[in-house]
Amino acid sequence: MKKGISLIQVDKGPSETSKKIKKLSIYSSLFFLVITIIVSAGTLYFYVLTNNNLSENTNKLSDLKSEIKKLEKKEIYLVTVANRIDSIENINKIRFLPSKIINETIALIVPGFSFSTFELSTNKVRIEGRCDGLASLASLNEKIDQVKMEKVFSDYSLSDINRAKNGEYSVALTLYK
């Protein structure tokens, strides 16, 4: 019997390679889908968790604020104390308190010395007086040197020294802080 050649195209079905490609694409797409679903679920979980934490903290904050509100008076007192003491510190830096400088100056009064004017400013004392003789003038000068060495005053000047007929010396003493 003769065998004829058929010219009609016969459908042999998909090749092995295309089958493999199809299988691979299905598995890989399903794999990525599963991964995406897991990631989505995880994202949703963290989102909800963060939201819960936020609302938990909001409650905590409002509790803390209401507790602090109950102690508001204490805070007002403390703010007032801080406000006053800050200002008092500043005032103390500028207020002029003469007693210390007066006491330091009267340490200079030696026997035989008397003064008639005592002028005081923040950094200077000027005394006008008289010494009843050369001895008291010398001891005044000695005393000033001593005080200067103790660094009570930074500088001094003994000026306008005039000898009167009765042997007294008028002096003007300026001391600098």
Partner: protein, 236 residues
């Protein structure tokens, strides 16, 4: 590519195509917006944590501070630096200090200024110019005592005229004039918000408070003229 072939491809690869579409939808609808949301909320959460820690610390500090000590310090410091001027009290106080220290008041000048609500953060002064006389010893005593009095005062430079000699019987009274300033400062308009930190009092400031506790206040045995409230009221 004809439509039949397209249909075949879709038919063969519908699962990967469906999966891809689903992945895109999940990405656009859930993952991207929620991740952005999480990042934003994390920032909020961090801020909340900081606020919680600050408020917890503040609450702890407030609980440990003794209210009676605070009230005592507040009252003391409001006397040392009053919130408003009171020239009549100041005048009486000066007269009393001078007489307590045996100084003779010749006269004084003052200008009451405006009596109104004032504000500001810098201390202000009310001033009295005093003309008086007394022994040098009493003058020193006067300065020493006045410096440790509340309300706080400051003196202007001055000149004493008289005569003083060491161990001499010829000592005369000194006359002098000076300006005495008493400080006052209006209360702050703002007493702190709930979330603002508590002011800290350093040890130097606590020492200063303790020092002021030893200061004296003029006590009047007879009733003095006290005018009604001036300016801003004290909210205590």
């Amino acid at each position: 590519m004809n439509s039949k072939r397209k249909k075949n491809i879709i038919k063969e690869f519908w699962i990967p195509i469906f999966a891809l579409v689903l992945i895109l939808i999940l990405l656009v609808v859930i993952i991207l917006p929620k991740v952005q949301g999480i990042v934003k909320k994390r920032d909020e959460l961090n801020l909340q944590k900081i606020e919680i820690s600050n408020l917890s610390r503040k609450l702890g500090d407030l609980k440990t501070i003794s209210e009676s000590d605070l009230i005592a310090n507040k009252d003391l410091l409001l006397q040392a630096l009053p919130p408003q001027k009171d020239i009549f009290y100041f005048m009486d106080m000066v007269k009393k200090i001078l007489s307590d220290n045996n100084l003779q008041l010749a006269k004084f000048d003052f200008s009451p200024g405006y009596i109104s609500s004032e504000s500001g953060s810098e201390p202000k002064t009310q001033n009295i110019k005093i003309y008086c006389s007394g022994s040098f010893e009493n003058i020193i005593k006067f300065f020493e005592n006045s410096e440790k009095m509340i309300p706080l005062m400051s003196f202007s430079p001055f000149k004493l005229s008289g005569s003083l000699a060491s161990g001499s019987a010829e000592n005369t009274d000194f006359t002098f004039s000076f300006e005495l300033a008493s400080y006052y400062l209006p209360l702050p308009n703002y007493f702190g918000k709930i979330d603002s930190p508590l002011p800290k009092l350093s040890s130097a400031k606590n020492d200063l408070i303790n020092e002021i506790k030893n200061y004296n206040k003029v006590e009047f045995t007879e009733e003095i003229f006290v005018p009604g409230p001036i300016g801003k009221e004290i909210p205590f």
